[in-house]
């Protein structure tokens, strides 16, 4: 029993220390932003590897998620004879929920794990330490550009996901199942509000981009510099990002759509 309490205390202390380190790390990142703005080249390179290279996975997943929504939505709605509202259903679920959440999960798996592994290996091979000895701050030179790239790419990727998803839904809905195309788009236009739906979705994806990049970079930076340490850190990145994204999604949804 005593052992249990001791262990509980120990693990609490460990996780709070880690949270402290992560917060300090975030502050360092934020202070580094000005030095990145002076050298946009660093940011552009990272936007390519974090954002552009995630393009394919996001597009294909978006297309399939949209197609599945089209099918499922049609079968449910046709029971009530409300097939025409398929457009609203597909668009609302994508823009409010699935776009930001699924693309953030994919982003954490595709780009987040890569970031953790990259930073962790740089640490293991003393590249970060070497940079410090060359009087180059690794947080400014390596971490901050990657963080900003994640923050910028995430909403764009989520938007892409939703857009492709809506096309997928339309392909299935009006192409295959015969929902009237005019009704599909008109209902969507009428049913989706710019501020309530689209802007809230964008806010979500910015928050998810922030949290996923932060976790990925911190886990890499904090990794034990061995091959096992890096592999564990990569796993933690994916798991922790998924939890934080889903948990935050609940909180954000409750805050944003709670009134209606």
């Amino acid at each position: 029993m005593i052992q249990l309490i001791q262990n509980l205390g120990k693990s609490t202390r460990v996780s709070f220390t880690k949270l402290g380190r992560a917060s300090y790390f975030l502050i360092q990142i934020i202070f580094g932003i000005t030095s990145v703005l002076v050298r946009p080249r660093l940011l552009l390179n990272q936007l390519y590897s974090v954002g552009v290279l995630s393009f394919l996975i996001i597009t294909i997943s978006g297309l399939f998620v949209g197609m599945v929504l089209g099918l499922q939505g049609y079968y449910t709605l046709s029971d009530f004879g409300a097939e025409e509202t398929l457009g609203v259903m597909v668009a609302a679920s994508l823009v409010r929920e699935l776009g930001p959440v699924v693309s953030a999960l994919l982003f954490a798996g595709r780009a987040g794990s890569a970031l953790t592994a990259e930073i962790g290996l740089m640490k293991a091979t003393e590249q970060l330490s070497g940079m410090e000895m060359m009087a180059v701050d690794p947080v400014k030179r390596i971490i901050t550009p990657r963080f900003l790239a994640g923050l910028i790419s995430m909403p764009l990727l989520a938007g892409l996901f939703s857009a492709v998803g809506i096309i997928g839904g339309e392909m299935i809905g009006s192409g295959l199942l015969g929902v009237d195309e005019g009704a599909f788009w008109a209902q969507m236009q009428a049913g989706i509000d710019f501020y309530d739906d689209i802007i809230n979705g964008v806010i979500k994806s910015v928050v998810f981009g922030f949290i996923a990049s932060w976790i990925a970079l911190f886990e890499g930076y904090d990794a034990i510099p061995t091959s096992e340490g890096v592999s564990r850190a990569t796993t933690r990145t994916v798991v922790n990002s998924a939890f934080s994204i889903l948990g935050l999604d609940f909180i954000l949804t409750a805050l944003m759509f709670g009134d209606n």
Binding site: T125, E126, Q127, S129, G130, M131, M133, A135, V136, D137
Partner: protein
């Protein structure tokens, strides 16, 4: 012959930077010129340093001096914290007690920006080379120049080629670090360490894992760089023979204490049993071959319970 180039190159570097005043003259360049006339004899002095990892005392109240313009070696068996000492000198780790002065400045009381200014004047050669793996050899050597100077690209090219020429790898400029052998990557790292013309280079186990030819090349390089560029070098190593050839002064460290010090000749003549064992590489002596354990027979006959 190759090394004369470095000297010219350093002069050219200064001359060009000074002549073309639109390019900002770097603070460290001015500082370096001030250094060279400063008359203080010890570039680095370590005073009453104590440092522990967990419960293990790595250094226990030791004091060391590193003379300007000399090659000083720190030797000792693996795990005595030799690399830790270099990280302490570079300000990457903080001591528990004691202080370290580099060029008259207390490293651990400097503000962050001053510490970074100091580090620009130090080169460090990591055991692994620590090259940035996403860049070519050329870009690796150019890295400190691009980060810290505002020199035009054409001049950076000239400087990088000169540094690479000095380590004999001008032809390897377009290779990626994963295409280099261990000896080559260490030489590239050395070229990078001298890119900013530092006042001192810290070598972390420069000879470990080198074949005889690259070892010979490195020994020669370290010595010539030191004399020609007027550097101060600190070598951390357990390669007794190679280090004794080039070092001017040697400290032998074991279990947090200095067990012997002196010129290589004095160390060879040392009457300390420990130093003798280390220098000759005898398997048993004051340092035992066996890690502390209970009696061998008892251990074999015991129940084998996990502990």
């Amino acid at each position: 012959m190759a090394f004369c180039n470095i000297n010219d190159n350093r002069l050219t570097y200064l001359r060009v930077v000074v002549q073309n005043s639109p390019f900002r003259i770097d603070k460290q360049l001015k500082l370096r010129m001030v250094n060279s006339v400063s008359s203080q004899n010890n570039l680095v002095s370590v005073r009453n340093l104590t440092f522990s990892r967990g419960s293990k005392k790595i250094f226990d109240d030791i004091s060391l001096d590193f003379q300007r313009g000399k090659i000083t070696a720190i030797m000792g068996p693996s795990g005595t914290g030799k690399t830790t000492l270099l990280k302490l000198i570079g300000g990457q780790l903080f001591p528990e007690r004691g202080s370290i002065f580099v060029d008259g400045q207390n490293v651990h009381q400097l503000r962050r920006s001053d510490l970074y200014d100091l580090r620009k004047r130090l080169g460090m050669l990591f055991q692994s080379g620590a090259l940035l793996t996403d860049m070519t050899v050329f870009d690796n050597v150019a890295f400190p120049l691009r980060e810290h100077t505002h020199l035009p690209e054409s001049m950076i090219r000239t400087l990088v080629l000169m540094k690479l020429q000095a380590v004999g790898l001008r032809g390897a400029r377009d290779l990626m670090p994963n295409e280099l052998s261990g000896g080559m990557s260490r030489r590239v790292a050395l070229a990078r360490a001298i890119a900013l013309d530092p006042m001192m280079i810290l070598y972390d186990e420069p000879f470990t894992g080198q074949d005889p030819i690259s070892m010979g090349a490195l020994v020669h390089l370290i010595k010539s760089l030191n004399t020609i560029l007027g550097l101060t070098s600190i070598i951390v190593s357990h390669d007794v023979h190679e280090t004794s050839v080039i070092a001017d002064y040697i400290y032998v460290i074991s279990e947090g204490k200095i067990v012997g010090q002196g010129t290589p000749a004095e160390i060879q003549q040392s009457d300390s049993e420990w130093v003798q064992q280390f220098m000759t590489g005898a398997a048993d002596g004051p340092v035992h071959f066996h890690y502390p354990a209970k009696e061998y027979v008892d251990d074999l006959l015991s129940s084998g319970k996990r502990y």
